[in-house]
């Protein structure tokens, strides 16, 4: 069990810098999610922690030990890849036992550990199969099993659910959450899906263009986004941003409520698109030329073209600097 420290970690490929000086402290047993749009450097950062990419400068330490110069195999990390990276020529059992065979683990111990991991993941009946005989979800489980059996200091997940269909993804997300209860190991999880990040993380690290935009618990990044980027990235549909003089005023769609009082509404406009979702309805408004989305109770707005007036609690309104994008 171990904490991870990143100090001024940079990565550049020739002239192009992809990670600009990242500082990060991850506590023991913490589940941290790196989230950001594609190309933001989150996978590169993960691969640097794993030792698969060289560190251009800075320092990474795991469990108090600087690992910059260590090979992946000496860092005691386990990784789950986006395409699972199961060895196609080995059975599930061999896949899970493979790394231990090169670490001098006794045969009986290997069998015990694989059996244990298979039990946790409910893949006991699959151990004799080849990866090509498994479904996507099963492969995903085996990939996780391969990480678990090692009992490493750190788990690294590289967008592990992005190759699954929507339904399975939700199911596996719950699975990972449950697994988390049983195997409490320091984990870094990379995803571009903010819902995954919100549901899984102890802390979320939001990256953009190789820089950390914000680090915080899911509540923190949701309630107090540090930058415009975070505000736009976390939450679906994203936060509405209304320009006002030198600031951007942000309010989440779900914080806009039907205006019923006599005072002036917070904003009003004509509904352009109405998307009923059942539990509530998404209404797009045209407010003085800016698109605003509101999540309203069903049946309040029936069709496009209606005039809508909405109110908002001042506590739920965020202000951002227009030039720097930082929170005010």
């Amino acid at each position: 069990m171990a904490g991870i420290t990143l100090r001024a970690v940079r990565k550049s490929f020739g002239e192009v810098a992809v990670v600009h000086g990242v500082d990060l402290e991850i506590a023991d047993r913490e589940f941290v999610v790196f989230v950001g749009p594609s190309g933001c450097g989150k996978s590169t950062l993960l691969r640097m922690i794993a030792g698969l990419e060289d560190i251009t400068s800075g320092e990474i330490s795991i469990d108090g030990r600087v690992v910059n110069e260590l090979d992946p195999k000496d860092r005691d990390v386990a990784m789950v890849f986006q395409d699972y990276a199961l060895y196609p020529h080995m059975t599930v059992y061999e896949n899970m036992a493979f790394s231990m065979r090169y670490r001098g683990v006794a045969k009986d111990e290997i069998r015990r550990r694989v059996g244990h991991a298979a039990k946790i993941l409910d893949i006991e009946s699959l151990v004799a199969r080849m990866p090509r005989q498994l479904s996507g979800g099963q492969r995903q489980r085996v990939a996780m099993g391969r990480a678990i059996v090692r009992d490493p200091k750190v788990f690294l997940f590289d967008e592990p659910l992005s190759n699954l269909d929507a339904k399975l993804r939700v199911q596996m997300r719950t699975e990972i959450k449950r697994l988390r209860e049983r195997v409490a190991t320091t984990t870094i999880y990379v995803t571009h899906d903010q819902v995954e990040a919100m549901t899984l993380a102890d802390r979320i690290v939001i990256l953009n263009h190789g820089r950390i935009e914000q680090i915080g618990t899911p509540e923190e990044v949701y309630d107090t986004p540090a930058t415009v980027f975070v505000a736009g990235f976390i939450g679906a549909p994203p936060m509405n941003l209304l320009p006002q003089q030198d600031v951007l005023m942000g309010v989440r769609p779900e914080h806009l409520v039907w205006h019923s009082g006599s005072e002036a509404p917070f904003l009003s406009g004509r509904a352009t698109v109405v998307e009923p979702l059942g539990s509530d309805t998404l209404v797009s408004l045209d407010v003085a030329g800016t698109q605003v989305i509101a999540r309203l109770p069903p049946k309040l707005v029936r069709r496009a073209g209606e005039e809508v007036a909405l109110a908002a609690d001042p506590a739920n309104i965020h202000y951002f600097d227009r030039t720097t994008g930082n929170r005010r």
């Binding site: 698969l52 090979d71 195999k73 990390v77 395409d83 990276a85 060895y87 020529h89 790394s99 670490r103």
Partner: protein
């Protein structure tokens, strides 16, 4: 849609096939013919067929010796090829300064036919002191450029994440090659083994040049020697031919797909 009948095409192809097979048949027939292969007119079916010509070959000439030499040289060539081509192919999948030049160098080497280098190659082999040894015969065959590129292409088609996973799992470079890449490149390995087998099994000119003593001669040399010493006076010569051809044919028929793929991919890439 109106379709042309297929029987004319079948007729042509059957004729072609028969023409292609006649030499095989004729030599097989001769090797089975009991007495006087020169009797005129020759029979289409062998006269009192027997297999004793094959027994004669075994004792008339040092067939076991030739066979052993051929097997040793071929085994050396196959091992060398697998080892060196795998290593070189893997090295070429990596990025390093000068990679482009090495690839270019290899490609241009491919255009130099080996036969055009025999005089200095002989002198070099003499300098190395391996004339008239198995190693000397096998040395130029130990690595093949075409096969290096076949391996390179095959390794490059293995997903990068598998190699990363292996690295996280604690494998060194050589183990990655042996445990991950090679098992996933079975057809490249097969192609390599087959091509090397055929080339070293059939090699004639080079062994002719580097061997001096009959104890070092390989099967093709033995065949040529048989021809020059005993002339074509006996069916045993043709039994010898059949015996020598059988391994090549067997391997080809077993691994036709790999063999053709190897040849064409090697040829088109070169």
């Amino acid at each position: 849609m109106r379709r042309a009948p297929s029987w004319p095409r079948h007729a042509i192809m059957i004729a072609v096939s028969v023409l292609m097979l006649i030499p095989f048949y004729w030599v097989l027939k001769t090797s089975l013919t009991g007495e006087n292969i020169y009797a005129y007119p020759p029979r289409i079916v062998p006269v009192d067929p027997h297999l004793y010509n094959y027994v004669d070959v075994w004792y008339l000439i040092p067939f076991p010796r030739y066979l052993l030499n051929s097997l040793i040289v071929t085994a050396m060539a196959i091992c060398g090829n697998l080892l060196f081509n795998t290593a070189a192919g893997y090295a070429l999948t990596k990025q390093f300064p000068g990679r482009r030049w090495i690839v270019l160098l290899l490609l241009s080497c491919m255009l130099i036919p080996f036969q055009a280098t025999i005089i200095p190659a002989y002198l070099i082999t003499a300098q190395l002191g391996v004339l008239n040894t198995h190693l000397g015969i096998a040395l130029p065959l130990l690595s093949t450029i075409i096969c290096i590129f076949i391996f390179k292409a095959s390794f490059e088609s293995v997903p990068r994440s598998l190699i990363d996973a292996a690295r996280v799992d604690g494998l060194g470079e050589w183990r990655i090659v042996v445990r991950i890449l090679l098992p996933l490149s079975k057809s490249a390995v097969a192609t390599n083994v087959i091509l090397t087998f055929i080339w070293s099994w059939n090699a004639f000119m080079w062994p002719l040049i580097v061997t001096r003593s009959p104890e070092m001669q390989t099967l093709p040399l033995g065949l040529a020697r048989f021809l020059s010493v005993l002339e074509d006076t006996t069916g045993a010569l043709y039994a010898f031919v059949v015996l020598v051809l059988v391994p090549g044919l067997a391997i080809f028929l077993m691994a036709q797909k790999e063999f053709i793929r190897g040849l064409t991919s090697g040829a088109t890439k070169g």
